[in-house]
């Protein structure tokens, strides 16, 4: 793992994520503060990226939008990773009926297209992050379960696991201390992949007005709002498009980088 920063994607991503998460303590404008006299004002010393249709500071809105995208996607990915891995490891180790049951449940979740599941939840529970995070978490649980399950199946019969079992270690110790570190690699790769997918889904739902709610900034919503005024204010549209695309490309590149680091054999084929 010492080479984790050996790729430019990892470094750039870290800068973006840390910068966005620190947004509340950085000397930025209030992303919600309107300024009617500054509607559509161009870039200036105090507003680096200009102001939007309500005179709000575009740079601050971009940073805070990225922050909410990261917070929502990150917490959804963490939740689904914990739940999915626990189910997958337990199913793969215990085997039998409970394994079959768990895997069937995962198949059922996979029958629902993620975007539609999120929309169903928004209908029933109302739109917003409090609905979005649990739905995204639910959507990605099966992917972690499958990865964990498959990895446990190959690891559980290995000699080092047998050795720990023969030493009399309790099952919980075998699962969390012996098996989990052995299968962590693919799970980390899956995690970075899920964060990228969540960012895409979150931005899409926000574009439809079902994710982050106005006036809170979100990249998807900024793209949707700026389309009407594109001819006069192209930058208002290009900036969120560019930031979103760059973040997703970086996340995907980081995902490939992790895969390469953790499993050099399999990644050479592609």
């Amino acid at each position: 793992m010492k080479h984790i920063f050996s790729s430019p994607s990892a470094i750039l991503l870290t800068i973006l994520v840390v910068g966005a998460l620190l947004a509340p303590v950085l000397p930025l404008h209030d992303p919600l503060a309107m300024d009617i006299s500054g509607r559509f004002a161009g870039p200036s010393a105090s507003h680096w990226f200009g102001q939007d249709e309500y005179g709000r500071d575009v740079f601050a809105r971009l940073v805070f939008a990225l922050r909410s995208a990261i917070l929502i996607s990150g917490s959804a990915a963490v939740l689904s990773a914990i739940i999915g891995t626990a189910i997958g490891v337990a199913a793969g180790y215990v085997r039998g009926l409970s394994e079959a049951f768990a895997m069937r449940v995962m198949d059922i979740i996979l029958c629902f297209p993620p975007l539609l599941l999120a929309m169903l939840a928004a209908t029933l529970y109302g739109a917003g992050p409090q609905t979005l995070v649990p739905v995204l978490a639910l959507v990605f649980v099966p992917s972690f379960t499958r990865v964990a399950h498959a990895s446990v199946m190959t690891v559980r019969t290995m000699d080092y696991v047998d050795a720990v079992r023969l030493m009399g270690a309790p099952t919980s110790h075998i699962l969390w201390r012996t098996i989990l570190p052995g299968i962590a690699g693919p799970l980390f790769v899956q995690f970075s992949f899920v964060v990228a997918m969540s960012v895409v889904l979150e931005s899409g739902l926000s574009y439809l007005g079902l994710g982050v709610l106005p006036p809170e900034p979100s990249l998807g919503m900024m793209v949707g709002a700026a389309r009407a005024t594109f001819l006069d204010e192209p930058w208002l549209l290009i900036a969120p498009c560019l930031l979103l695309t760059v973040v997703i490309i970086l996340l995907n590149a980081f995902c490939d980088h992790l895969r390469h680091l953790l499993d050099p054999r399999r990644s050479t084929g592609n």
């Binding site: 198949d107 059922i108 029958c111 629902f112 297209p113 993620p114 975007l115 539609l116 929309m119 169903l120 928004a122 209908t123 029933l124 529970y125 109302g126 739109a127 895409v200 931005s203 899409g204 574009y207 439809l208 007005g209 079902l210 998807g220 793209v223 949707g224 389309r227 594109f230 001819l231 192209p234 549209l237 498009c241 979103l244 695309t245 997703i248 490309i249 995907n252 084929g269 592609n270």
Partner: protein, 315 residues
């Protein structure tokens, strides 16, 4: 034969579970679901309205009775009526589904036309500039969110160049030319991401086939290079491409939501988004059940084709 029947029964059970879960989802909501659906911006809804909608959704009857009725209705393709304008949901879906399918079909054809040849070309010489460049472009094409791609296409081809209309829909029967013109951009938007997928799968599948003995044999007996690539290699590399492609198409049925919104294409998505915004529960569940049924059906179809072409799968 047993394998096929088992696979079909599995899909039917899956569909039944999905339908049941969607039906039951309204009962998972804490509090009174109807009051929740009807309350706008925190204001309490009119009690008479609540009673009427509860009656309409059948929520005043025992849950088991509601559930059995619902299954019966579904078996007759009755998806209930909208709680906003009381129109039958199935009729509206019947009108809109073909438009969404048309969009997907057009995107599928475009992406096969782009993805397959470029994948074969890239596999012929994986170290070439073309291959590397195409891999990079495909990676980027898959990364950009589809509504960003759509928005950028509108800006470039509709607003800056003025070559194509920014969006809308005209029935084919009224004006075929205009209809196709309006189809180009939304279809291209979907096709950009999809052709990247086809390209990558084709390329890696070809790279696995090309080093095999029968390709060497074909070359050795003097088959022209082009014929080896297409008749010998591509035919054998096609299976994974078909599988991934079919699964992608199932996902697209849901993924077109964003594209249809960008281009005002009146497919399923407009109905769905309006349904979600109005919290029109029957409309939303109707669309979801139809899409999930398509998705499950497509998976079944892929498996059956697989089973027919490769007997080893049927174990």
């Amino acid at each position: 034969m047993g394998w096929f029947i088992r696979r079909i029964v599995q899909s039917v059970i899956m569909l039944w579970i999905v339908v049941s879960l969607v039906f039951l989802s309204i009962h998972f909501v804490p509090g009174d679901p109807v009051e929740l659906l009807l309350s706008q911006d925190g204001a309490a809804p009119d009690p008479a309205m609540v009673a009427m909608v509860r009656e309409q959704l059948g929520l005043n009857r025992p849950v088991l009775e509601q559930y059995l009725d619902k299954l019966g209705e579904l078996a007759r393709f009755d998806l209930g009526t909208s709680i906003v304008d009381f129109s039958p949901v199935a009729t509206e879906i019947g009108k809109r589904l073909p438009r969404t399918l048309e969009l997907i079909a057009a995107a599928a054809i475009i992406s096969l036309l782009i993805g397959l040849p470029s994948g074969v070309l890239a596999a012929r010489n994986p170290k070439s500039m073309f291959s590397r460049g195409a891999m990079f472009v495909a990676g980027a094409a898959q990364s950009i969110p589809v509504f960003v791609v759509g928005t950028l296409l509108v800006i470039v081809f509709a607003q800056l160049l003025g070559w194509l209309p920014a969006g809308g829909f005209v029935p084919f029967s009224r004006d075929p030319g205009k209809h196709m013109l309006l189809l180009i951009m939304p279809a291209a938007t979907i096709a950009i991401g999809l052709s990247a997928v086809v390209f990558r799968i084709t390329r890696s599948s070809m790279l696995e086939v090309l080093p095999q003995d029968f390709i060497r044999t074909a070359r050795a007996k003097g088959v022209p290079a082009r014929r080896v690539m297409i008749r010998h290699a591509l035919r054998n590399a096609l299976m994974p491409v078909i599988t991934v492609f079919a699964l992608q198409l199932g996902g697209l049925l849901a993924g077109t939501v964003l594209v249809e919104t960008v281009f005002n294409w009146p497919g399923l998505s407009g109905m769905l988004v309006a349904g979600v915004n109005a919290r029109d529960y029957p409309v939303v569940t109707g669309v979801i059940v139809v899409v999930a049924a398509f998705y499950i059906g497509l998976n079944l179809l892929v498996d059956i084709i697989y089973g027919l072409t490769d007997p080893r799968v049927r174990k």
